[in-house]
Symmetry: C2
Subunit: 541 residues, 2 copies
Amino acid sequence: MAQFLGVDDYLKQRDALIQEDRSLRREYMTAQLRSPLEVKADEIVRKIRAKEAATVWQEDHPEILHPFPGMEFLTGRKIIEKTQIFQILSKMPKGALLHAHLDATVNVSLLYELALKEQAIHVRIPEQLTAANIGSVLPEFRGLPAKSYGLDGISLTSSAYTPNTWVNIARARETFDTSLGGPEGFDKWVLDAMTIRPDEAYGTHNTVYKAAIYLHSIWRKFTSTFIVAGGLTRFMPIFKQYLRLFFLSSIEDGILHVEPRINFLSKLAIGADGKENVTHRDMLLIYDKVIQEVKAELKQRGQENKFIGARIIYSTIKIITPEELNWYLEDCIALKKEFPHLIAGTFRFDLVGDENELRPLIDYIEPLLQFRKRQAEEGVDIPFILHAGETLGDGNLADNNMYDAILLGTKRIGHGFSLVKHPKLIETCRERGIALEVCPISNEILRLTSSMPMHPLPVLLNNGVPVALCSDDPSVFGNMGLTYDFFQVLVASEVTGLSTLGALARDSITFSSMEVEEKELARKAWEAEWTSFLEYIVAIA
Amino acid sequence: MAQFLGVDDYLKQRDALIQEDRSLRREYMTAQLRSPLEVKADEIVRKIRAKEAATVWQEDHPEILHPFPGMEFLTGRKIIEKTQIFQILSKMPKGALLHAHLDATVNVSLLYELALKEQAIHVRIPEQLTAANIGSVLPEFRGLPAKSYGLDGISLTSSAYTPNTWVNIARARETFDTSLGGPEGFDKWVLDAMTIRPDEAYGTHNTVYKAAIYLHSIWRKFTSTFIVAGGLTRFMPIFKQYLRLFFLSSIEDGILHVEPRINFLSKLAIGADGKENVTHRDMLLIYDKVIQEVKAELKQRGQENKFIGARIIYSTIKIITPEELNWYLEDCIALKKEFPHLIAGTFRFDLVGDENELRPLIDYIEPLLQFRKRQAEEGVDIPFILHAGETLGDGNLADNNMYDAILLGTKRIGHGFSLVKHPKLIETCRERGIALEVCPISNEILRLTSSMPMHPLPVLLNNGVPVALCSDDPSVFGNMGLTYDFFQVLVASEVTGLSTLGALARDSITFSSMEVEEKELARKAWEAEWTSFLEYIVAIA
């Protein structure tokens, strides 16, 4: 207490208290090592941020009533893209992307372009499409065998359309009724079905409090985008090109390693011949091939340091029963054993989906505990990387998943949004080095937080919890790459600066599933790019 | 980690971890002392809460798109009032009210009724009132001397109205143009000017990110309600009746002690004769008189345990300069010295207002440090009870006020909304017993949180920070008493139960400014009422 202190002594006490309060932050662990270059670049970025907070974020923007830094992403994106901070961050080396669902990682327009070129891709709907139902009827896509192609003569918008009849996608586009916008109307209908619009997130579907079965749940809309896109990505000729686009666009944004979750709920995918006979093993072979191709191309251009590689987090969805889970656990072990050289030690078992409505982890505790024993028997090690705490609940099932994830020895936590409520678990994450995969834009669009200033990330950072920023479902949310997420985090806090972003990127490498040597490679590559990045900032000032 | 555990052992580990994680909660400090009666009542309330979450909160309500427990208060209030939980909590003994601004503590309809009966009360506006400007022009009220009454012939809505001319309030009401709703239109105009409507908080003014000078800031609307109501409460004949209504309505809601902040920015108030010559000393004499009258009445009815008493937290607003602050600090010391017997040891210096836009505490550090010395010289002890951290900012001036409040030795913290970001300050509050005055509904309407499930209160509770729930400005927000705030807290968390609410009420007594003997009295009275309350719950089940 500052009894009878003079102002100078008071200010000294104050500085010491602030420093102590922030001493757990991970960028301060190496603060003494900050180069004069980093200190200078940090100051420059802080000045630009302050200037833009008072200029571009205070101006009138058409249709945006209350702009502010860190505002609702879908509404504010146009302003974000105008800022110098965004331009700068687009050049930042981001480290590794540790939390993204593969089916939502490539810009929907690009996926749609791929689909239009595939003669096998067909679309169907359960009823004729009209002005009245175009907002609610969703396209279902699928690659078909050539012998089934004949039935595609009739438009989806024609009264002669037989419900659930497959129509070739290009043909469906051409014959889309002009009253619904013609071919461009078809484009819009398809793309809308794979993304979330601002009026959905912030208007009609603005609630986290309803299960996906409810008409106005944001999770209903969110889930439906996956069903639509999944019809395309499950077709292996598209899958292969899709993977390539995912890796290349990630690299373009400064990401040097990715660990997407692949949803293996469907036991078989669809091959070039339109037959549903592609196994998970076949998919992994494709995955590995694309990695090698991309790496070879980069090497040819002398850019091999831009992409260390990719892993897969084996995932399924918590709609299955505990008994059904066993099949996937065994599948995971078998794949791990069959391809130890291919995807060494990187398979993870994960469970994704709306935690607030699906089964809690505790329901699966028997097979999950059994999984440990089975790994020991088979001589493999597949650590858990579990989703937990993606909820506003306090002591509800989804919040309590945090206890199970940690007791099960999870290596990282997907989201962990509710961790801030748990002092003991915060301590555990800090001490055991359990990193949180924090997805700021996803949390906001799925209405766990109304804007970035309300997001609990500063609580995690000040408590020294390791954090990797992630995009989650960028094609659905429109936050392609990691630049947008880093942007939202930087502009919403005056404590957070460039060094914080650097610490987040470093942690994404540290807590990745890369092998020791790969991590060393990745670190060296990242540090070199970081220095170039700082030099670039100092040069533009 | 649960390697190779059986399910039974796993569940034991899990229970132990959950208990450890919640061991700092203040209701668990005395959990062993929970009576079987309390345990039973707690279970009953949890059941009713679960039932209502699945019934009344899931039903369709006209004009409420997405109802859920803990939703936006102004929209959900009608549903809240239909619930059994609300009926139950209205009977709960609440303890002490430690954070409320006096000018916003009595239902605006009652204040308005008082005003209509006072011949001296006049109203004026800067321009003739029309359909076009009725949404933005605010009434200014004032008690006038009798000799000024003659000018009140012309309607505020008449084209003959001379801007800024005072009109008697009853006359202004009678002559209010029928096109604007006649007398009822006047009533609505006046009441709207003293409250926040749902469409303002959640629509037109839905942002915390603008200073009060901005047209659409919720703080602009909020501040204006005080200016309007202050014109009435500054008139001493109303002030006296207003105090009485405040005490009686608080008692009615189960509150046994109040510590309102009185805004002493105006050095003089207005007396019955319409002259601006009433000193702060005069106001305190009135305050004390009303307390004594209310206590006497209660004693006569054998209900003296329902009201232990009232204090005042001396407050002013951070628009003043550090030099001007000295006058108020000396005023506070003088009052404390002159009336030690009257309001023994209860004066506090406080600074209220929108922290995000007004001066930070650090600007006043010289007079504030000097204040300590002056108290020692004068032989008085006036601990600070400061507002701090009522902000979404991270490391901005308002957030940094938290450091100053604590370094200045604040006894409690008004709001402390941003405390959760500060691990060191959380520890300090827990260890030194600095209680937070948490105002859930205020925080939500002023857009620091979008709903109760997003409020950081669970973080505070799980970290063992002492908390007193408070209403802040109930006449503006419509959360009269403390029942609504307790309701919002209870329904938004499955960890929080009746015992948590009991702990919050107990802490409001423990961390109040009552003298030792008064606290003892209050505790005994509260415990007796708590037992009756539990018996009532068990009886209705």
